[in-house]
């Protein structure tokens, strides 16, 4: 699914609300039957940890941690044993073609590689929803296409992927597009 709209239309706010990072000023949001507006902070942290994976436009990797450390971090917050977490993180990085970049720091990687590390981090906990905010915005067109391909194959494996973008080309790859303008959904197909 893609959420498409010009800048200022409220795409990012919608994503933050969907990702339980922000709370709506009015309205209701139920995720798996849980009323998010009434959830405690720790519950929200747990939802973000287990049910949602974020991919940000600016990758948002921790600069002092290696690729594999970045990827395994969500598992550590879940209390998974370090050895197990490293194993899973390496698997995901392998899957995304970064098997030989595991111990590199983010600034030693290209933009496309950083984005793939970010995607690996987002999917390592097998979240129900993957939220991607302008995932191709900071990438050259080749890397951008690669990222979209990764999303497509993840989607085929049964992951829900919500891509937020102002780029029609990106949006058109989605099975479903929601158009957003001035904070309102005015069209979807």
């Amino acid at each position: 699914m893609a959420i498409l709209g010009p800048s200022g239309s409220g795409k990012s706010t919608l994503m933050n609300i969907l990702g339980c990072l922000d709370l709506p000023t009015s309205g209701q949001y139920y995720l798996d039957g849980l009323d998010i507006l009434k959830a405690k902070e720790n519950q929200l942290a747990e939802i973000r940890n287990k049910k949602i994976g974020f991919v940000f436009q600016k990758f948002n990797l921790l600069p002092r941690l290696t690729a594999v450390q970045n990827v395994m971090l969500p598992l550590l917050y879940r209390g998974v044993d370090e050895k197990e977490a490293i194993k899973l993180a390496k698997e995901k990085l392998d899957l995304l073609g970064l098997g030989d970049r595991c111990n590199h720091l983010p600034n030693e990687l290209s933009g496309g590689q950083q984005q793939r590390v970010a995607i690996a981090r987002a999917i390592i906990g097998n979240p129900n929803i993957l939220l991607a905010d302008e995932p191709t915005g900071n990438l050259d067109s080749k890397s951008g296409k690669d990222a979209i391909e990764i999303f497509k194959s993840l989607n085929k494996q049964g992951n829900t992927i919500i891509v937020i973008t102002h780029n029609n080309e990106v949006a058109e790859q989605a099975k479903k597009i929601i158009y957003l303008r001035d904070g309102k959904i005015y069209e979807h197909n």
Binding site: N42, R48, K50, F56, L62, Y77, G79, E82
Partner: protein
Amino acid sequence: MQLKQLLKIILINIYHNKMRTFLTTLGVIVGTATIFLVVSIGKGGEAKVNEQYSRLNVGTIIVAPAQRGRVVDPLTEKDAQMFEKSGNIAHAFPVLRGSGDINYGNFSFRGNFSAILPKFQASNNLTVQYGRALADEDETKKNKCAVLGAELANTLTDGNPSRIVGENISINGRRFEVIGIYNRVGDSSYDESAFIVYSVGKKYLLGTRANPTIIVQATGIKTVQSAIEDIKAVLDETHRLGGSEQFRVLDAGSRLLAAQESARTMSLLLLAVAIVVLIVSGIGIMNVMFVTVKERTREIGILKAIGAKKKDILSQFLIEAVIISLAGGVIGVIAGFFSIPVLKYFELPSLPSINGVLLGLIFSVLTGIFFGFYPAWKAADLNPIEALRYE
């Protein structure tokens, strides 16, 4: 998150900011070293006081004029004899103390001398290491002989005391033969003094200025208080002019307490200084932690987005502050150990102890916890959206 992994991440962050971390720890290093040294000095002072008084009989009571200089109504040998009549008192000896030029060869020295009855030596644990002690005969024959305190003999002979025995010294121009040297007592009023017999001191050195102190030996520790009361009663009786008020009656036990008290006061004072240093260094830690939190605002947002709970963030920053302060503490204790020889050089008694190490480390950790908590709590309380937007 498990502690081991948390520590790993914290150490990566600390390592990244080596220089800043080191500068932050400086205050803690100084503070902890000071605490360690304070405890060492305290212990050393205590040990020195105890050693000084260890050979001093606790049953000793000193009766002395309350004011220095000329006294209208001085103590007399008769007072001493009166004191001895009390059932609580074993001995009472008058002692004349004075100061003057002590000459040996071409060595001249401004020192103290005491004129005593020979019996005084036995009751005050004065024994000779060289030569012989003063004898009753010396008193009756008014022999002009002297026995020196260990420290005085050392000073006069440049550390070779035995050679002075049999030689002549002069005190205030009067010639005396040195017949012996006492063992060290640990009390400078004995060890740094020359001793002559009472009759000689009274006749040749002090004359009418004689203003004796009476050293009283109670029959035991338990009778010290009653002996003091008896002494005061006698003084009220025999010195009607001013009564016992014009004399000080001090027992060795309370002198020991006073010395211990002053050593303790010194320690407390230094401890206060150390705590001030630690508070200042704690504020330094707080400052640096605030800067660190500010710098990592965006990272904190990322951590929250991937599911870090408040307590995860709080413990990460709190432990970081504690590690910084504990590292300072450890270095401080080590620095303290290396400073002990410096104190020794300045003749400050100091004794390193496990208490000093523990107290220093505990205080350094407390500093980290106390001053690290607020910045850490601020970090944990950040709104994830605002943190993620932070540039």
